[in-house]
């Protein structure tokens, strides 16, 4: 509990200029944090912190702020858990501050709210999130959390991610910082193995983690803790004893793994579990990083087995996808990770969006897609022309691009479907294949743009 007594706000500047983050190469200021008034989309730091921490289903998530900050957002994170107790990921807690709290401080209310949460829901920890209003009025959530921890013996962790400090990405880093400062290293594990790893940035969205964790376990690689999918507070507190940190598709948490390397000597690697190729590469990379010859040999055997199994189940789809071309309009690392999955299915990816990608993502997209592919920097205005030029059969994008597909009479798949279903790991590729097949064979995209009977 000693560590819990020392609590202070993260250094925003330091998080913004993360040296290991690709976004920051070649920039003087922190480019991750410059929202333009009237031309900004995407969530705030609080949103990012929620995304990062809400998957801890054994911890309560208490938002100290008004209803905008949680009203439409709770119970929306599809991050399942195997925690046998009440699923607190899907339980909304908010102090719902009123004028009185703004004028006279909401600290007393917050303290009482913490009491209520711990008394009625017995969480393993309480994450207390500040918001713009309570940050501005200066409620001392550090002190309230410290006193709450002392009063109940349950860690109360302040998360200083009010929305105005930046975008989702920064909020995710702040969440990592809070866990690093207040939880990691506060407990010693009962046993350790040479193959203990932490999965950082794996939120188990739609059960993605469960698509590959059993394979790691089969190899004797033990997932000591996850940040934060299907996570447990008790295990994240022992995360400092892992032998390797694996970042899963989350650049924003590089600060966390870099600091864990500095503080605890844990090396880190970055992985993606989208598609067959990436899943195989990632599992092998983990084995290689753990550096055991026998483990590596067994890993190669497992990969061969899984790939052979998958190839066989994919045979019926091969005919459907043969000769099909796709345009991909999505952001960040998805620009290449989904592309890789599509290629595994035998679909040619003729264009992808690199609008929000880092330099490394762009290079990777180029490497995956080849010299002839189009890297779209302004996909919204480019994609219709690109579809014409390439003769693409399928557009994978967010809902806003649906009309482009209909106008071009080609099949459309909402890439955000993966928020409802998992496309991760070997088995996820089958799910993706089925969804794409259904899209390609669905008559709706041609029918819906049919000329109305009264139009000549």
């Amino acid at each position: 509990m000693e560590g819990l007594l020392v609590s202070s706000k993260p250094k925003i500047k330091e998080l913004l200029v993360e040296s290991a983050c690709e976004h920051n190469k070649g920039h003087k200021k922190g480019p991750c944090n410059t929202p333009t008034p009237g031309a900004t989309t995407g969530g705030c730091a609080l949103d990012g912190a929620q995304i990062a921490l809400f998957p801890f289903a054994d911890a309560a998530h208490l938002i100290h702020g008004p209803m905008s900050c949680v009203g439409g957002a709770w119970e929306t994170r599809l991050t399942p858990t195997s925690w046998p107790g009440r699923d607190l990921t899907q339980t909304g807690f908010a102090t719902d501050i009123n004028t009185n709290d703004v004028v006279f401080s909401g600290e007393k209310k917050l303290a009482e709210a913490i009491d209520h949460v711990i008394t009625h829901y017995a969480p393993e920890a309480v994450f207390v999130y500040s918001t713009c209003v309570t940050a501005l009025t200066g409620d001392d959530i550090d002190a309230v959390c410290r006193q709450g921890s002392e009063r109940h013996g349950t860690p109360c962790v302040p998360v200083h991610a009010p929305g105005f400090v930046g975008a989702k990405n920064l909020g995710s880093r702040i969440a990592g910082e809070a866990v690093l400062r207040h939880l990691i290293g506060t407990k010693e594990p009962e046993d350790t193995t040479p193959f203990d790893i932490n999965l950082i940035g794996e939120h188990n969205n739609t059960g993605e983690l469960w698509r590959y964790r059993h394979l790691l376990e089969e190899l004797g690689i033990r997932v000591r803790s996850t940040f934060s999918g299907d996570g447990r507070i008790a295990s994240i507190r022992t995360a400092h004893r892992a032998k390797l940190n694996v970042i899963v598709c989350a650049k924003s948490l590089i600060s966390m793994t870099r600091k864990m390397e500095e503080q605890y000597g844990i090396p880190w690697i970055s992985c993606s579990f989208y598609g067959m190729t990436d899943t195989s590469n990632s599992i092998l990379a983990i084995a290689e990083a753990l550096g055991d010859a026998d483990l590596i040999a067994r890993t190669r055997a497992l990969i061969a087995r899984e790939e052979a199994r998958l190839e066989e189940t994919l045979i019926p789809y091969r005919a459907v996808f043969a000769g099909k071309k796709a345009v991909l309009n999505t952001g960040g690392n998805k620009s290449w990770s989904i592309a890789s999955a599509l290629q595994d299915l035998g679909i040619e990816v003729v264009a992808t969006s690199v609008r929000k990608s880092t330099e490394a993502d762009k290079a990777k997209a180029r490497q995956y897609l080849g010299e002839d592919a189009i890297l779209m920097t302004s996909p919204a205005s480019q994609q219709a022309q690109v579809i014409d030029d390439t003769g693409a059969h399928l557009l994978l994008a967010g809902g806003r691009s649906l009309y482009t597909a209909i106008k071009k009479r080609i099949a459309f798949t909402d890439v955000n479907q993966e928020k409802k279903k998992s496309y991760g790991g070997y088995d996820g590729l089958l799910v993706l294949a089925e969804d794409l097949k259904n899209s390609l064979q669905n008559p709706v995209f041609e029918l819906v743009d049919r000329k109305a009977p009264w139009r000549k």
């Binding site: 995407g42 949103d47 905008s68 102090t95 719902d96 713009c132």
Partner: protein, 443 residues
């Protein structure tokens, strides 16, 4: 009448269904044609709101943010961030109106919205909607009042045929349309303010979400004050009547708490007949009344033996409770998001301002839940059945086209509820039989 508890008595909300005032303001602006709602706050305030309405309506939503940062929060009084936003919006689209609404953040730092707005040339309406006050209903109403106060030109003559219709926030787009057409069928010309029926009614549009794709036009808003009557539906929008009357004291104000069920619709029809000097309603109205009468008789057996929990905005509670009571439904508990003058008039055993934790604790009191998508998980936890109504509904598609009002919608509403109640009872019978079988097998 009902036992009413107007305060939660808790230091927090657990599993809240309450939504914020700026969210109500955004939705109201989305009912104005070619409008860009501009939320004055941190980017997350707008993002959370946009995501919520996008998922509820299954439509892209036009909404921008002034993206206040920690630096502008301290150094700027809104002059920079609002002016800059309007310039940047103008670079991409040409809105007929920009709807600036504040949040807790910008109210706490004390921006002088009115002062900033007075210096801006672009067509703009501003409204103060801190999210530490009120809720979805008040944000909607304040915005409607701001639209009228700032856009409507004063007028001295009235056109008896013209009706301004102000629906409460929980009326879905198709319900606004049905009500507008219903009044029009009596020979009136109706302007709905706001009008979600042509903007968020799930129609396929080309320019997706660059601006609101329909709604009441700015020209119509400017010319509201020659209406003969302003009709407000729902206690939350009642004050709008007086707001419009300030522009023209000759306008008559007719208020309805709701337009649901047989009695509620009868009251509207009686008034429409009187005002239009007609003896009989249009034939289609008569026909739907007969269908509703039949639906009431067909559904009364099922609904009459069912105890309900309603979870919604106050005006929505009043409307649904009235419909259910007409066929003997026992509204055991109604949980409102916020306090409202209408709470005392809701036909329920108990009315409280509260959250879904309250609902869970009182789960012995009811069989069927009617509420937003959060009540689905609640129903699973407490072993009940839920029917989705209200904001937000992420569980189902088609919310915008779900009609519960007037004779017509009233019939569909009763069918929906009665069928849900029957399915629940059938499931109970099935489980009981399975248990008996298992006991038989074990013996």
């Amino acid at each position: 009448m009902a036992e009413v508890r107007r305060k939660t008595g808790k230091p927090l909300q657990v599993n809240p269904h309450k939504l914020s005032q700026p969210m109500g303001a955004t939705l109201a602006f989305l009912g104005v044609d070619r409008c860009m709602p501009l939320m004055h706050g941190a980017q997350g305030c707008a993002s959370f709101t946009k995501v919520m309405f996008t998922r509820h309506f299954c439509e892209p939503i036009a909404l921008q943010t002034t993206a206040v940062t920690d630096v502008t929060a301290v150094l700027d009084g809104g002059d920079y961030s609002i002016t800059e936003s309007i310039k940047n919006i103008g670079d991409k689209v040409s809105p007929a109106l920009i709807g600036v609404h504040t949040t807790g953040l910008t109210e706490t730092k004390g921006d002088d919205l009115r002062g900033v707005a007075s210096k801006i040339e672009a067509p703009l309406v501003y409204v103060n909607t801190p999210d530490y006050q009120g809720g979805l209903e008040s944000g909607w109403t304040l915005t409607v009042q701001a639209l009228i106060e700032q856009l409507t030109e004063p007028c001295e003559r009235t056109d008896a045929r013209k009706v301004v219709l102000v629906p409460h926030v929980s009326m879905q787009p198709i319900e606004v349309e049905k009500l507008r057409e219903f009044i029009e069928a009596f020979g009136f010309e109706v302007v709905a303010v706001p009008d979600l029926s042509s903007s968020l009614d799930n129609h396929l549009g080309e320019k997706q979400a660059s601006l609101s794709g329909g709604g009441v036009t700015v020209a119509e808003l400017e010319g509201l004050a020659d209406a003969g009557t302003v009709v407000t539906v729902g206690a939350s929008v009642k004050p709008v009547g007086a707001t419009l009357q300030k522009k023209n004291p000759a306008i008559r104000h007719r208020h309805f708490a709701h337009v649901s069920g047989l009695v509620g619709t009868d009251e509207l029809v009686a008034w429409l007949l009187e005002t239009s000097a007609r003896d009989t309603p249009p034939a289609v109205v008569e026909r739907w009344r007969k269908r509703l009468q039949d639906a009431m008789l067909d559904s009364h057996f099922s609904i009459g033996q069912t105890r309900f929990l309603l979870v919604a905005e106050p005006d929505h509670l009043a409307a649904m409770a009235a419909s259910l009571r007409e066929v003997g439904g026992k509204v055991a508990l109604a949980i409102a998001t916020v306090d409202s003058p209408v709470l005392g008039a809701i036909e329920a055993d108990r009315v409280i301002v509260g959250d879904l934790e309250d609902a869970e604790q009182l789960c012995d009191d009811y069989d069927i839940i009617i509420g937003n998508f959060h009540t689905e998980a609640l129903a699973h936890r407490v072993g009940k059945r839920a029917v989705m109504r209200g904001f937000p509904n992420y569980e189902e598609i088609g919310s915008a086209l779900k009609n519960d009002v007037l004779y017509e919608g009233g019939a569909y509403f009763l069918f929906d509820i009665a069928n849900a109640a029957e399915r629940m009872r059938e499931a109970e019978v099935h489980h009981a039989r399975e248990r008996i079988k298992q006991q038989g097998a074990a013996a």
